[in-house]
């Protein structure tokens, strides 16, 4: 798995930003990501992977980040299409990112699989977090 800054210069063919303020927003984000994944031509399994990762990261932004937003981009680089999601919050931040990425590590009574799982389910994964400032997690999945 590559840990890259997810393609800042890749052309974006469509972009939208959705709020993460409630459990219902998490449901709406899943639906929006599904729609964009289909638009990018992702197959059923890849759609399911990116939607599942989106659900994990949206819930983290809600539960730990006190809410935030997600930017959903449909990407096209030559013949290659994909979806990029960028979740951000202005919450407490993550003091030890490596620890947070470890499977089964949780501070909230969860299963501790959200961050590590989202990384495994994506082709690109990037996380930045600063204590007292907030957290941004960006993932991408390519066709």
């Amino acid at each position: 798995m590559r840990m890259t800054k997810t393609g800042a210069r890749v052309p974006v063919t469509r972009t939208e930003t959705l709020p993460i303020r409630s459990g219902d927003d998490v449901v709406r984000i899943r639906q929006a990501v599904r729609t964009r994944a289909i638009e990018a031509g992702l197959g059923l399994v890849d759609q399911t992977k990116i939607v599942t990762a989106a659900s994990e990261l949206a819930r983290n932004a809600l539960d730990y980040g006190g809410g935030g937003e997600v930017r959903v981009d449909v990407l096209q680089e030559g013949m290659r299409k994909g979806v990029r999601l960028s979740f951000s919050d202005q919450g407490p931040g993550i003091p030890d990112i490596q620890k947070a990425l470890t499977d089964h590590y949780t501070t909230g009574g969860g299963l501790g699989l959200g961050l590590g799982g989202a990384k495994r389910l994506s082709n690109e994964f990037h996380i930045e977090s600063a204590v007292g400032v907030g957290t941004r997690v960006t993932i991408a999945r390519w066709k």
Binding site: G23, D24, V26, V27, R30, Q31, R34, L44, V45, Q47, T48, K49, V51, T52, S55, E56, R59, D103, G110, L111, L113, G114, G116, G117, R120, L121
Partner: protein, 132 residues
């Protein structure tokens, strides 16, 4: 508040999850199932999830919780109808769903339950004979 209906067929409770689950609904289902297993003495819980387009760790934890509660109340949980794309994704997510049996569809899930109930009956009658 919305709730997910729980049906009873023989000694088995059947739940069909048809909506995109949100938090309150998941918690309500855990509570309702716990109460219903206790009040009916059901020996099995069959959860049909073919409508679910994803299973994330939140739903995974709900399934785990239901299975754990059922176990304590001496009932078995079988999850049926998981979509293949969901099953593939679960593995990569890292969800193990230990203690949860799965079956392809409701018929097979019911057959698994019936087999267990039947075994219990035989144990029971063997014990009864021994005690005679």
């Amino acid at each position: 508040m919305d709730r997910i209906p729980i049906l009873k067929l023989g000694g088995v409770l059947i739940v069909t999850i048809q909506v995109d689950m949100h938090d309150r609904l998941a918690l309500a289902l855990e509570e309702d199932l716990t109460a219903k297993i206790a009040s009916t003495g059901a020996r099995g819980v069959l959860i049909e999830i073919s409508a679910l387009e994803i299973v994330d760790s939140f739903i995974g934890r709900m399934l785990d919780n239901i299975a754990a509660i059922s176990r304590v109340l001496d009932a078995e949980t079988v999850v049926v109808g998981m979509r293949p794309a969901v099953a593939i994704t679960l593995v990569e997510l890292g969800l193990e769903l230990t203690g949860i049996k799965t079956a392809l569809n409701v018929e097979r899930g019911m057959a698994m339950m019936q087999a267990r109930l039947h075994e219990d009956d035989e144990d029971g009658s063997a014990r009864a004979r021994y005690e005679d």
